[in-house]
């Protein structure tokens, strides 16, 4: 009887005790959350520690403590807590993401990849797609920092395949594609962003850049015109627009160009190349002749040889001269690029046209 009575009495006391422990744990956790929101991570750490004292196995408390420690750059402590949490719940998305961040900060590629991937495929209790997207975007940024371009590109493709109808997200993905020089995917993402937000200047500029890099100068011109109109201070887009416009004006191989206009462009390009050659030879005269100078002289001889035949009449008489003349122009622009003085806008445009039609 005494044992039963004692048992009941202790049960009553324990109920009071655990209720108080629960209350204190919740109170300190709330304080920690508030401190974290106010940017007071050190106070948050103390509060979460106190909360954990009353509920040592509380996953949320411990995770919050780890996040607060990570915010204070106390990564070793945060890491230790996170590893414990991971051992308890290896499939927890937040824990994996935090561990991924810590290993990324330490530059440990393999472990960072492992935990970021865990986070991407982990169980997220709410908004799983959004959390996975955040994890993948962070992973992509990490891979880009580490110059792991191929891996970053494959992650980007996976990311792009599951993006929701959200212009900023498409824009972010497109920018990342630009970083890995995947202009085709970048342009597609910019277009998606513009589909959702027609006036987005960043998307317009990005699409212009992507189209420019792909050699689609007419598209580039269109996007860049809109971008510059929306944001006249965008110097990069303005420069690109000028170049794209010049390319479109100089390119003799465009389909819509009449024969007379083509001939005019060929002659103009040929003359520009000749000026470029002359300028280059004037600069190289004081120096001893190098191999490239000899090449330039050969090009000069070839240009001089062709010069008498490059006229509207000559081109009409012999349509093959268009290709011959432009081959000479492309050769001159490639040869002089880098070895001679800075090219003019026209020279740059001709170089781009050479890449567009003559390969690299």
């Amino acid at each position: 009887m005494l044992a039963v009575l004692s048992f009941l009495a202790v049960a009553g006391i324990s109920k009071v005790y655990f209720r108080e422990q629960q209350f204190l744990g919740d109170r300190w956790f709330s304080r920690g959350v508030a401190a974290l929101q106010n940017g007071q991570s050190d106070q948050a750490v103390n509060s979460f520690r106190s909360a954990l004292r009353y509920s040592p196995n509380n996953y949320t408390y411990e995770l919050s403590l780890a996040q607060a420690l990570a915010a204070l750059n106390r990564t070793d402590e945060a890491h230790a807590y996170l590893l414990n949490l991971w051992e308890r719940e290896p499939e927890n998305g937040t824990t994996n993401l935090e561990l991924g961040r810590i290993y990324a900060a330490k530059g440990e590629m393999d472990l960072a990849l492992r935990y970021y991937h865990n986070a991407i495929y982990a169980a997220w209790p709410d908004h799983p797609d959004a959390h996975r997207r955040v994890a993948r975007l962070e992973l992509i940024q990490f891979l880009l920092r580490e110059n792991a371009v191929t891996q970053a590109q494959s992650e980007l493709i996976a990311l792009a395949a599951n993006l929701p109808e959200d212009s900023p997200l498409h824009l972010r993905a497109a920018d990342s594609f630009m970083e890995v020089q995947d202009y085709e995917h970048a342009l597609a993402q910019y277009r998606d962003a513009l589909r959702l937000d027609r006036r987005n200047a960043s998307a317009l500029a990005g699409a212009g850049r992507a189209a420019f890099e792909l050699g689609r100068y007419d598209s580039a011109q269109r996007y860049l015109q809109e971008a510059v109109a929306g944001n006249p201070q965008d110097a990069q887009s303005t420069d690109l627009l000028q170049t794209a416009t010049l390319v479109l004006q100089l390119d003799p191989f465009r389909r819509q160009v009449s024969a007379a206009e083509r001939h005019r462009r060929v002659i103009e390009a040929f003359e520009s190349a000749g000026k470029r050659l002359k300028a280059c030879l004037v600069l190289s005269q004081p120096r001893s002749l190098s191999t490239s100078d000899n090449d330039v002289k050969l090009l000069q001889a070839r240009w001089s040889d062709l010069r008498p035949r490059i006229s509207d009449h000559g081109l009409r008489q012999n349509p093959d001269l268009v290709d011959t003349a432009m081959d000479s122009v492309f050769a001159i622009e490639r040869q002089t690029n880098g070895s001679c003085a800075a090219p003019t806008a026209t020279d740059q445009a001709l170089l781009l046209i050479s890449k567009l039609h003559g390969g690299n």
Partner: protein, 587 residues
């Protein structure tokens, strides 16, 4: 500090043989009771109830410590003011209580329980249990660097003793009831029944016997069941995955054992040196000693190491999970030694188990951290080192080698670290024994003027055996089928007056030359020895038996045969009374 010798229990323990099982109201009921429950069976049942009560008491004790902490130090990180005032002012209150109300509540409680067993016939005043509960809860809750396990042990013993007195158990049972309660209290406090049973057997009782073992196990198990009912089955600290990967890691654990052994010596040496000096100070200083100790510990907390305050299980948990740098771990181990020495020598009630585990965990994790930097291929996980470190200090400081091994295994629930634990504990134990020959508990009892049996000394005592006194066979040995005339001829060749007779199929007897001569003279020369031998056979001994046993037989016969255990007819030697006495004289 433990009860000094001059401090007697509040009431004289019953020395007379009390009526057994006097709990029953009338003679018929008592007869029925005796029929169903003889005292030994009743004692087993009682052990379960002792465990239940001890478990309930320990649960309340844990609540009391936590509430003390919350109200004295605050529910969150303590402020500077609280860090300084809580332990010092509470120290004053504790001193008043210990000096004027609960004089036997001082110290850890282990030696008091031993004293109850060996001196006071199992008597532990109930008032002491109450006093221990209150004062230790206040001390630990206010931040004194002490633990709840030893007080739980004494509270359990006090409850058991009170229950035994209430039920008028026999003196023999009363003597055993304190260890039974102690095991229950310790098991509930540790959440580790095997370790508690081993500790009580190893350090309190000092011997294994089926009777006491059953009671101790039952009480420990029932107390742990009760404790887990209320507090859950989780260990005192969360255990990460631990284990040993490569055998070469044993080298690293040996280093931990060495470090642990030295730390144990420093820790024990500090206590045994300072304690008598503080006791020798004027009596009025005893009112302030716990307060001063508390103030210094509070200062340590203010200066950046509040982790050393209190029992520190949450800090151990953090260390096990690798949340401290090795430098901080080393500092915490050192400061905890200082803080615990101060708390303990000041006479503040509280235990040394938790601080020992704390120091071991910090030291282990620190050594593991250092080795991880310099010898990454040798070092295992921090958690493993911290756990092994706990066992190391337990073996080196408390000098309970068996308990230390099983404690780590039981707490970790992982058998894979048994090798590191054994290796490291052995190093620590050997170093501690080499530098401090007397274990800490024995030094403390002797400082108090008590002479309790030292379990370690008992374990180390070399037992003299029959083979140590045994002499080669010089007397004639004959079979019992030989005729007396033939026997006489054999005796003629020997100078001995005695003859040993090998009986068939087994057994030994003896006869003298005179007896044989007389019978031959009477014309019985054709009779066999068997027919004339005395009816009573000689006792015989085996070489490995304790020499004490020989003392029982050497007066029955001039020589006692020592025979092989494999063949009882094969004589290995003989012993006489003089042989035994000479062996004892030579030491």
């Amino acid at each position: 500090m433990e009860a000094p010798a001059k401090t007697q229990p509040e009431t004289i323990p019953p020395r007379q043989e009390p009526a057994r099982a006097a709990v029953m109201p009338g003679p018929s009921a008592r007869s029925l009771f005796h029929f169903v429950f003889r005292e030994e069976r009743f004692f087993l049942v009682l052990s379960v109830f002792i465990g239940i009560f001890a478990g309930l008491a320990v649960v309340c004790f844990r609540f009391a410590i936590e509430w003390s902490r919350i109200y004295l130090l605050g529910s969150g990180a303590p402020t500077t003011l609280r860090l300084l005032l809580a332990p010092s002012l509470t120290g004053l209150v504790i001193a008043l209580l210990v000096i004027h109300v609960f004089p036997l509540a001082r110290g850890s409680g282990v030696n008091q329980t031993k004293a109850a067993l060996y001196i006071y016939n199992g008597f532990v005043p109930f008032r002491t249990a109450i006093g221990k509960f209150i004062t230790a809860a206040l001390a630990i809750g206010s931040g004194q660097s002490l633990g709840p396990e030893d007080p739980s042990l004494q509270i359990g013993a006090g409850l058991a003793s009170a229950l035994g007195r209430r039920l008028h158990l026999s003196r023999e049972r009363m003597r055993l009831i304190a260890p039974v309660g102690a095991a229950a209290g310790l098991a509930a406090a540790f959440n580790a029944p095997i370790s508690a049973v081993l500790f009580v057997i190893e350090e309190v009782i000092g011997r294994w016997s089926a009777g006491i073992l059953g009671s101790v196990v039952l009480s420990a198990v029932s107390s742990v069941v009760v404790m887990r009912w209320f507090l859950g089955s989780e260990s005192l600290f969360r255990i990460p995955p631990v284990g040993m990967v490569r055998p070469a890691e044993l080298i690293a654990y040996s280093v931990l054992g060495l470090a642990g052994g030295l730390a144990s010596v420093v820790f024990a040496g500090g206590i045994t040196t300072l304690r008598p000096r503080l006791k020798a100070l004027p009596r009025w200083t005893q009112y302030f000693q716990p307060a001063v100790a508390g103030l210094i510990i509070g200062l340590i907390g203010v200066l950046g190491a509040p982790q050393v305050m209190g029992a520190g299980y949450d800090v151990m948990d953090q260390a096990i999970h690798g949340q401290f740098t090795w430098q901080l771990l080393g500092i915490l181990a050192g400061l905890k030694i200082i803080a615990t020495i101060l708390s303990f020598v000041s006479g503040t009630p509280g235990g040394m188990f938790a601080p020992t585990l704390f120091i071991g965990a910090m030291l282990g994790a620190c050594v593991g951290g250092v080795e991880h930097i310099f010898f990454p291929h040798l070092a295992g996980s921090t958690g493993t080192y911290a756990l092994v470190g706990m066992g190391v200090l337990f073996a080196g400081f408390l000098r309970a080698p068996m308990t230390s091994v099983f404690m780590v295994l039981e707490v970790s629930g992982n058998y894979s670290i048994i090798l590191p634990v054994i290796v490291a504990n052995t190093f620590a134990y050997v170093i501690s024994r080499g530098l401090l020959p007397t274990p800490i508990f024995d030094v403390l009892t002797r400082q108090d003027g008590l002479e309790l049996p030292s379990m370690e000394e008992q374990r180390d005592e070399s037992v003299l055996r029959v083979e140590d006194a045994m002499q080669p066979v010089t007397v004639p040995v004959l079979d019992d089928d030989e005729p007396l005339a033939q026997v006489l001829r054999h005796l003629g060749e020997s100078s001995s007056n005695n003859l040993l007779v090998r009986l068939s199929p087994s057994g030994w007897n003896a006869i003298t030359r005179e007896q044989v001569q007389t019978m031959v003279n009477e014309g019985k020369g054709e009779l066999s020895l068997r027919s004339v031998l005395p009816m009573r056979q000689l006792p015989w001994l085996h070489p490995d038996q304790p020499l004490d046993i020989a003392l029982r037989y050497v007066n029955e016969s001039p020589v006692v045969p020592v025979v092989s255990r494999a063949d009882l007819r094969k004589l290995e030697g003989v012993v006489s009374r003089d042989d035994v006495l000479n062996r004892y004289k030579s030491g």
